[in-house]
């Protein structure tokens, strides 16, 4: 089950003491509180979020910060990922991973990286001041921020095919991937509790925009790779705390993309009104209600998911890869249990974990869903402070299922994946810290005696441990490294 994938998480920041400066300054303060490494810039030359997968480019400004500001905004990490300020948020992008389990490991590592930055930032403040950081998707006041997934997909798949095949899957995926939310937002129908954090914020079906009138299918075409691939940019998902939720969310999506690439299509599941149904499904905690398909038939979200699962089981019936079978088996199990009683998953899926402890709390206190403490519980579930975050409290009590060991998460803070170009990027950063001038997904630029040298990383599957590990180990200088690697090295401007 090899598919290149990675996620970007925008974190929400609360401050005690409203005299604190604006969110951009707060985000810069937090990101720069991460334990100091050699300053390295981000190479923006390949960034172009204005290209639309439907075949055109829109007008707009491209981000090109000057070197001083660049240094403040960006902290490329030794694990191959990126800690940075995006707009008004601290953000963590995982390195490129090659399977869902690795993705969970590197997302969890990112939570710890952010927690370290948070801890250091708070040490630098006055006692009455303090930041809180949330890995969630809303401030409860109609402002949403994203959790974006990125999947490498072959360009031989027409984008229209991706739209058609992915829409019913992504709308219904929330039944196991939802992070849960108290209340309703964005002028949608009221709700006491919902399955998805993000569903209320989706207003269009297909569009380039990511910040308003959000589309279920985002058409950004900024591949960060060579011409064979596209980066399918998914903005409809929730940020999860539970490892099982994250694993299922990304692993099932990867399997569906596998099928699409192989020309295996699920038929008859087109949804009549996707923008309305994504919100209806979010509000149905019984999972028993049906949605209207284009055919006029009415199916539950469970049935739509089952159609994808069965197609995958057929497609992979002769597959030997154990990870694929593990994912299929978990997908089948979760759908069966959800069909029986979703509350049986109160140790595994975020929206159920959250619902269970909030309802217990309400019963104990004799309060209702409208009580401000309930809204606080919803938010604090996602708090990145390991002492305060309610997910971490529940996890420490052994009440949630784990997939990744603490040791694996710890390693992933500073060591990159071995199976993707993140390996080369991460090891250049740790091995040649003083000589790396800037990096991006597709480049490492070194400062050499003879000038700047850019090593391109256009193929996510090159720069792996297998391909460059020995060369990195044998090279004690950048010059030696550049002499050994086969990639065309160019002279870069600084």
């Amino acid at each position: 089950m090899t598919r290149i994938l990675g996620t970007e998480t925008e974190f929400g920041v609360a401050v005690k003491n409203s005299a604190m400066p604006d969110p951009v300054s707060n985000a810069i303060f937090i990101v720069n509180s991460h334990p100091a490494q050699e300053p390295v810039l981000w190479d923006y030359s390949n960034e172009n979020p204005l290209l639309d997968a439907r075949g055109y480019e829109i007008e707009g400004e491209r981000e090109r910060p000057g070197p001083e500001y660049n240094r403040l905004l960006n902290k490329p990490l030794n694990n191959g990922g990126r800690l940075y300020v995006d707009g008004a948020h601290p953000e963590y992008a995982t390195p490129e991973c090659s399977d869902a389990r690795m993705l969970v490991q590197y997302e969890k590592a990112g939570e710890q990286i952010i927690a370290q930055a948070l801890h250091q930032a708070n040490l630098r403040l006055q006692p009455q001041e303090g930041f809180s950081i949330y890995k969630n998707n809303t401030d409860g006041k109609g402002n949403s921020y994203g959790y974006h997934e990125n999947y490498w997909v072959s360009r031989h798949v027409p984008f229209d095919t991706l739209i058609a095949q992915m829409t019913p899957f992504l709308i219904t995926r929330q039944i196991f991937a939802g992070a849960g939310k108290v209340g309703a937002e964005n002028r949608t129908d009221p709700a006491r509790y919902q399955i998805s954090q993000r569903a209320d914020f989706f207003e269009t079906w297909v569009d380039l925009n990511t910040m308003m009138k959000r589309p279920i299918i985002n058409t950004r075409d900024e591949p960060h790779c060579d011409a064979r691939g596209r980066r399918f940019h998914v903005i409809v998902g929730d940020a999860n705390m539970s490892e099982v939720s994250t694993y299922l969310k990304t692993g099932t999506t990867a399997l569906v993309l596998d099928m699409i690439e192989a020309g295996v299509f699920v038929k008859g599941v087109e949804i009549d009104n996707p923008i309305q149904e994504i919100k209806q499904i979010s509000r149905d905690l019984t999972l028993r209600q049906t949605v209207r398909l284009s055919s006029g038939a009415r199916w539950r979200a469970l049935d739509i998911q089952r159609a994808y699962l069965e197609a995958a089981q057929t497609h992979y019936s002769r597959e030997t890869d154990p990870q694929t079978h593990e994912m299929l088996s978990r997908w089948q199990d979760v759908l069966e249990i959800l069909a029986d009683d979703p509350m049986r998953l109160s140790d595994a899926l975020d929206w159920v974990i959250k619902k269970r402890f909030i309802e217990s709390y309400m019963e104990r206190k004799g309060c209702s869903w409208q009580d401000p403490r309930v809204a606080m519980l919803d938010l604090q579930y996602h708090d990145m402070d390991p002492d305060k975050g309610l997910y971490f409290v529940i996890q420490r009590r052994g009440q949630v299922k784990r997939l990744i060991s603490d040791e694996e998460v710890h390693r992933a803070q500073s060591l990159p994946p071995e199976s993707t170009r993140a390996y080369f990027r991460g090891h250049c950063l740790s091995q040649f810290a003083k000589q790396v001038h800037m990096v991006s997904w597709t480049s490492v630029v070194f400062r050499c005696d003879t000038g700047m040298k850019r090593v391109p990383l256009m193929d996510p599957l090159r720069g792996t441990r297998a391909l460059v590990g020995p060369v990195l180990e044998q090279s004690s200088t950048v010059e030696a490294l550049l002499g050994h690697i086969g990639a065309p090295v160019s002279t870069a401007s600084g």
């Binding site: 925008e10 929400g12 920041v13 609360a14 409203s18 969110p23 951009v24 995006d86 707009g87 008004a88 948020h89 809180s132 401030d139 409860g140 006041k141 402002n143 949403s144 921020y145 994203g146 974006h148 990511t210 910040m211 903005i235 038939a297 199916w299 049935d303 089952r306 159609a307 069966e336 069909a339 029986d340 402890f357 217990s360 709390y361 104990r364 401000p372 403490r373 809204a375 606080m376 519980l377 938010l379 604090q380 002492d387 305060k388 309610l390 409290v393 529940i394 009590r397 009440q399």
Partner: protein
């Protein structure tokens, strides 16, 4: 999907009927779970932000994708 197929699948999803008598093991487990819930609630109370109403009201995060 044919209605018959869906009905058949629904039957497959439904678990077997549980015995009517209270199983002492299950009751003991139930109590342990209640104890776990109570302890969790106490810990949540300890760490929950004070002045929840004000905190939630003051939390605003604009500028997100």
């Amino acid at each position: 999907m044919a209605k018959q197929e869906r009905e058949a699948r629904k039957k497959k999803d439904t678990p077997k009927e549980e015995g009517a008598e209270a199983n002492p093991e299950v009751v003991k487990q139930g109590k342990k779970t209640q104890e776990e819930i109570d302890e969790l609630m106490e810990e949540i109370d300890d760490v929950l932000e004070e002045n929840a109403e004000e905190f939630v009201k003051n939390y605003i995060q604009k500028g997100g994708q």
